[in-house]
């Protein structure tokens, strides 16, 4: 019972933070869209039909109702908020399809490459770090540590095009575009994994190399623990603590950062949908996407906080603290 209470006391404020971030994101986008000069609907219709489009005022009013852009700003603000909470993000101005439906269609494609990219990036970062850790010579270690920064230095459109020309056109192993088969996700995932893995590597490897000089690793060595076990049992989890924060940030980045890759590889996805929506000044879609990314971002951070509790017993809830009081432990 006390455990449940302690968890509730820990999680409820975090949940509050989560809701606050989502509502604040929504508010910010709403304010931006509605207080920018010009009528958003007219701008969207102009983008759709060309600059000389003539619209009948009565027809315009009907369209306003259709797209949920009628009524006072307060009505719109709260109306959309309540609708969004019920899963209704309005209708796209440029395509006429409900935004929720558009997102539901594009989202899996983005998730596919984003999670693959995360898998590739993190795995290779851990692998290179282990090799550097186990490297018998200092020069080899230095060399290995210098590789990943390239991943940040090379922009995605360049690495993407290079991968296409080698693996799709020259070798013909993988498709260069589309999103129909699983194969097609590999090249974009690798492209995306380069910067993601490199950023993760920077934090993770320095955490590992720092932990390597710590007294508890000395204790493990003096116990006779072999290097591989020291890495997996002693270093990995300790180095995960600082790394998991950057992992949360990276997932947030991936939620919105797929635009370039999806454009280069002509894939459907959230990123490409956003680019199109911006070009068409389709405010309902933009609002929906921003709200989605904001929610994912806040959710991931919530999960990171919870994960901390699982990995690090010092931040764990309940149990530990009363027992400490019982011990009357000294510092």
């Amino acid at each position: 019972m006390t455990q449940v209470k302690a968890w509730a006391g820990y999680l409820l404020p975090k949940l509050g933070q989560f809701l606050f971030v989502v509502v604040a994101t929504y508010t910010l986008v709403f304010v931006l869209v509605h207080f920018l000069p010009g009528d958003p609907l007219i701008a969207a219709l102009a983008a759709k039909g060309g600059a000389s489009t003539v619209i009948d005022p009565a027809e315009l009013d009907a369209l306003r109702v259709q797209y949920g852009l009628d009524g006072s700003l307060w009505q719109q603000y709260f109306g959309h908020l309540i609708a969004a909470a019920q899963g209704d993000l309005g209708v796209s101005i440029s395509t006429g399809v409900p935004v929720t439906e558009m997102i539901a269609r594009a989202f899996p494609f983005s998730v596919q490459i984003a999670s693959l990219a995360l898998l590739f990036g993190v795995t290779s970062a851990v692998l290179i770090t282990f090799l550097a850790y186990a490297a018998p010579w200092p020069w080899l270690r230095q060399l290995l540590l210098q590789i990943p920064p390239f991943g940040i230095a090379v922009p995605a459109f360049l690495s993407g095009l290079l991968l296409i020309s080698v693996f799709a056109f020259s070798l013909g192993w993988l498709p260069s575009a589309g999103a129909r088969s699983f194969d097609a996700a590999i090249l974009p995932a690798i492209t995306l994994a380069l910067p993601v893995g490199a950023l993760f590597f920077q934090v993770f490897s320095s955490a590992v190399l720092e932990a390597q000089n710590s007294p508890y690793v000395f204790t493990a060595v003096a116990k006779g623990v072999p290097p591989r076990r020291i890495f997996t049992k002693h270093l990995l989890r300790n180095a995960m603590l600082p790394s998991i924060t950057i992992l949360g940030l990276l997932i947030g980045y991936l939620a919105g950062g797929t635009a370039v890759v999806e454009t280069v590889f002509s894939r459907d996805g959230i990123g490409r949908m956003t680019v199109n929506a911006v070009l068409a000044r389709d405010i309902n879609v933009i609002q929906g996407v921003v709200l989605l990314v904001g929610a994912i971002y806040a959710l991931v951070n919530l999960l990171v906080d919870v994960a901390y509790g699982f990995i690090d017993p010092r931040t764990r809830i309940g149990g530990g603290i009363p027992s400490r009081a019982r011990l009357g432990a000294k510092k």
């Binding site: 508890y216 204790t219 603290i321």
Partner: protein, 602 residues
């Protein structure tokens, strides 16, 4: 039995040991002419320079030395695991007749933890924070004894019981942060002894612990040694610990063993200069209060001290600080001016609480200082002794008006200063100064020594720049530092020199009371003694009163006129130094006194 190094006269070298097969069997470890160096940017630096010693089976050999003597490097070399950049240049380490030097890492791994255990220095960092302590012991058991998971877990609990942890079943499932420092060190001792090794290397196993805990942990090691007939290499900076626990002592200085022999030999009749100095300055072994040196007393009569300090009141007459605490108190009161209060500082009924916040709501109140009262007679030294968490530092901070109390009063020189604030409080700082424990953290690394010392003068706009520089130089002389150091930075100075600078800074503005918060506990013993002597001399020269905080009764004994013993925020016992030391009333005080290492040497 123990081999004598370059500094000793008796030459029964390792070769001589080889000739007697019976003796070879008796020596578990034979180190011959070991050289270790570290690669640094400016080339290779020798840390251990040709040491030789043997460890007989079932005996404790202490390696004693101050910081930088190479003793920790030696301990790490014995399991061939040096810090990065370190390498063994030459020499041999024979463990049970086999040289560890040419062994492969794989062979070494079977020896480390299996046949040579290691107890590291810092219990707060030497356990993996994310692993249950039972698992950390079981890890060694599974590796070397090939126990199954369940067997190892059961055995780990038995080991925890053996090293004296109460309730070992529950402890085994706890994480390091849930245990106290002493318990963590016991866990580490358990790891070292887990696979019943022939040799255990203990590198400063108790230096980070409170003195009463240190005693229990060392007792525990003694017991394990007896029960398992283990040999131990005990690395320590504390000669008194070595005196109590070791059969043989090797004294290291500058990477060399300058003297070795049986503990009785080395301690009762040291032959090397360095050993003599070390024996003399060990606070656990010395038992007298320091008296002002003769030169200071002579100077005092000519009243040459403090001639530049025109902004301060004239120095007090000498004689207010003498050997006996009781005399000091009365002398101070009789020697004081009529206008000045007898007691420079009076605190009464101080209470300070901290709310410990617990996650998931609820809080717990910690009474860090609980109804503490004491008086500091003018011109004398009042010491508060206590272990970590006793509230001694918080009390000192309140007395110096750095922290504020929840209730109670602090009066300085007869005036209530409890609620001073703003400019009035700032002016109080002219009369009350503080010297902190850590001479590395308390000096701004970017400032020159002269600037550091003159800073209080600048803050109070005393004199012009040249005058301040002159005062700084004079103060450097008073703390026995060369005035040529004036333009150096703190990083170029040793720990002892830095603490002298900190003391000089506290003197600059001409205070009457100096609060000394563990001023020597970060220093080597031989330096400790010098600093304490300096403090005693300065007290006479400038007529200072000290509020001295320390965990070390050995140090307290050397400097105090009055002593208060604190535990859990309360003063358990207070009185003149002589009374508290020779006739302790409270059981805890007796326990503290008994825990001072060096009892066996007396």
């Amino acid at each position: 039995m123990i081999e004598h190094g370059s500094g000793a006269k008796v030459g029964s070298g390792a070769n001589a040991v080889d000739e007697h097969t019976t003796e070879v069997d008796d020596n578990i470890l034979v180190v011959r002419d070991l050289h270790v160096s570290y690669a640094t940017r400016s080339g290779s630096v020798a840390a251990v320079r040709g040491i030789s010693f043997v460890v007989p089976r079932g005996k404790i050999v202490a390696i004693v030395g101050e910081s930088g003597s190479g003793k920790s490097t030696t301990s790490q070399a014995l399991i061939r695991r040096l810090a990065s950049g370190g390498r063994i240049d030459s020499g041999s380490i024979e463990f049970e007749g086999r040289d560890l030097g040419p062994m492969s890492e794989r062979e070494l791994r079977s020896i480390r933890g299996g046949r040579i255990g290691f107890v590291p220095q810092d219990p707060s960092k030497s356990l993996n924070p994310l692993m249950r302590v039972g698992d950390q012991i079981a890890e060694a058991l599974r590796l070397h004894l090939k126990l199954s998971k369940a067997e190892a877990a059961t055995e780990a609990v038995r080991i925890l019981a053996e090293v004296g942890l109460p309730d070992p079943d529950a402890r085994a499932t706890q994480f390091p942060h849930e245990l106290s420092g002493g318990m963590r060190q016991r866990v580490l001792i358990g790891i070292a002894w887990a696979c019943n090794p022939q040799l255990v290397i203990a590198d400063e196993p108790t230096s980070a612990l409170d003195v009463t805990v240190q005693r229990h942990v060392l007792d525990n090691i003694d017991e394990l040694v007896r029960r398992h007939n283990t040999s131990v290499v005990l690395v320590t900076h504390d000669l008194a610990v070595a005196a109590d626990r070791a059969d043989y002592v090797a004294v290291m200085s500058n990477g060399e063993i300058v003297e070795q022999g049986t503990t009785e030999q080395v301690l009762s009749a040291p032959t090397h200069e360095y050993t003599k100095k070390l024996v003399e300055s060990a606070p656990g072994l010395a038992s007298k209060r320091l008296t002002p040196s003769l030169t200071v007393l002579g100077e005092q009569q000519q009243s040459s001290a403090g001639k530049l300090f025109t902004h301060t009141r004239p120095a007090q007459p000498a004689g207010s600080s003498t050997a006996s605490g009781a005399v000091a108190a009365s002398a101070a009161s009789s020697g004081a001016d009529a206008a000045e209060a007898t007691n420079i500082l009076e605190v009464s009924n101080l209470v300070k609480t901290f709310a410990l916040r617990r996650q998931g709501g609820g809080s717990q109140v910690l009474r860090a200082v609980d109804d503490v009262s004491f008086v500091v007679p003018r011109g004398s030294t009042f010491s508060i002794v206590g272990e970590s968490g006793s509230g001694k530092t918080t009390t000192a901070r309140i007395a110096a008006r750095i922290a504020s109390a929840d209730s109670g009063t602090v009066s300085f020189d007869g005036t209530d200063v409890t609620s001073l604030s703003g400019e009035a409080l700032r002016q109080l700082r002219r009369r009350v100064q503080v010297v902190y424990q850590n001479p590395f953290g308390s000096l701004d690394p970017k400032m020159s020594i002269e600037k550091i010392i003159a800073e209080p003068l600048r803050a109070f706009r005393v004199g012009d720049r040249t005058h301040r520089a002159e005062v700084a130089r004079e103060l450097l002389e008073h703390v026995s530092l060369s005035p040529t150091l004036a333009q150096r930075r703190p990083t170029e100075l040793s720990g002892g020199q830095r603490q002298r600078v900190a003391i000089a800074r506290s003197l600059a503005i001409g205070p009457e009371l100096i609060v000394l918060d563990e001023p020597v506990s970060a220093l080597d013993v031989s330096v400790q003694e010098q600093i304490l002597q300096l403090l005693v001399d300065l007290q006479v020269q400038f007529g200072l009163s000290y509020l001295f905080i320390s965990h070390d009764l050995g140090v307290i004994r050397q400097i105090s006129d009055h002593i208060a013993v604190m535990r859990s925020g309360k003063v358990l016992e207070a009185g003149t130094a002589h009374d508290v030391m020779s006739n302790p009333q409270h059981e805890y005080t007796r326990e503290l006194l008994e825990a001072i290492p060096g009892q066996r040497a007396k």
